[in-house]
């Protein structure tokens, strides 16, 4: 399974045309204690790099952007009552939505794990 990252610190893990989407461990750490996650609606059609949802911590509120275009086919409802899961496991249990990817060629606009790690060093 391949994992890709955006400059805004979202990730997408792709398997059989479905992308699981979340925010990176780096982003979760920077936000601090996460207190609220606004999930996208089931069935919502999203465009790459357009708003997917939002996330709030004690310190700040920020938007989450879709790493790929497609249709939201599943959301992580556990985050509605336990958003701290994102702090505990940002790149696994803290996933936010599954997107049925409209166009896999868009993945070329994203960074691989290695590229993202290099990118973090420049921040």
């Amino acid at each position: 399974m391949s994992m890709y990252f955006t400059k805004e610190h979202e990730w997408v893990k792709v398997k059989e045309g479905i992308g699981a989407v979340g925010i990176s461990e780096h982003a979760a750490h920077e936000l601090g204690d996460i207190t609220f996650v606004e999930l996208p609606k089931m069935g919502a059609v999203v465009k790459q790099f357009a708003m997917l949802g939002s996330i709030e911590s004690v310190k700040a509120a920020s938007d989450i952007f879709a790493p790929v275009s497609g249709t939201v086919v599943k959301v992580n409802e556990a985050l509605e009552t336990a958003p701290e899961i994102v702090n505990e496991s940002a790149e696994d249990a803290g996933w936010m939505a599954w997107i049925e990817i409209a166009d896999e060629s868009e993945l070329e606009n994203l960074m691989t794990q290695g590229q993202y790690d290099d990118y973090l060093k420049t921040l």
């Binding site: 601090g32 207190t35 609220f36 004690v58 958003p83």
Partner: protein, 363 residues
Amino acid sequence: MNDQLQATPICGRHRDLNALMAPFGGWDMPIQYEGIIAEHSWCRTQAALFDICHMGEFLFQGDFEASGLEDVFTFSVKTIPLGRSRYGFLLNEQGGIIDDLIVFRLAEDKVMIVVNAATAPKDFAAITARLHGGEFSDITAATGKLDLQGPLSRYVMVELLGEEIAAIPYFKFITMNILGVEAIVSRTGYTGELGYEIFIPAEKVCELWDLLLTDERVKPAGLGARDVLRLEVGYSLYGSDIDEDTTPLEAGLEGFVNFDKSFIGKEALLRMKQQGVPRKKVAFEVNGRRSPRHHYELCFEGETVGAVTSGVFSPMLGRGIGIGFVKPELTSLGTPLTIRHERVSMEATVCELPFFRDGSVRS
């Protein structure tokens, strides 16, 4: 303005603990160590240690009435009993709040005035301008201040510093020997929990910090947790909720204004009382986990009616809470308000203060 950040004597310790540091009131201060919610929770259940050396301390010695000190604040200084402290305001001519502060009655003719860090220079200038006698000095740099707050703070203080601390009632203080120097231990704080503010000479404050942290019931907490703690119990933050354009009447703090004495700003306040306040502080709970934040709009029936001045996610209530200012007729309990900012919108309901009522502050 001097842009150089000041550092407290504990600064090195914060860096050793890998604290996240940020500027606050002109000082380089710790915002969090392990995390704001963990530190908040530690304070509500154990004992949290805060570096509060940034706050300002002034000393006045002289005749309170002849010097004019008695007329400087919204409360009487001469009637504060020895060993007690009193909270209130320094106002401008328009009744706006120059600062909120606490005066400690140290002796028959001596008080210590504890003020906010960011406002300390203007406070000192304003008080100086109103005095015509007595000795008035700024002892901020020479004074260290640590707050130990939480339901277990009394046990820790008694075991580490002395038995005499056990009997200090709320808003009273004692002078005692700590680490070989004279220190003030006051039963006051900014968290809604049982707790103490300790004033000790700056050269000893780091040693006291280390000593208190030897107790496993004590953990350091930063200004992030302190802000959540104070808002849960409805305390105002100077610069956010109150400022020079806000009067104590608007801020719902009339209880700290004594109209039986003279003070600068009194005429303006009396006029405002007669004409009615144009806006009033309101507290509200959000229907959900979103946080209201400073400057978000408060709306009623589709119209903007005011702004949020403080807001946060309350770990104790499990929802967003906040305070702000609106027209007085919209402050009745149960009034529905909508909070808006860009594309964010949340429903809230006007409620009573404090939001969190079960703190150990008076236990």
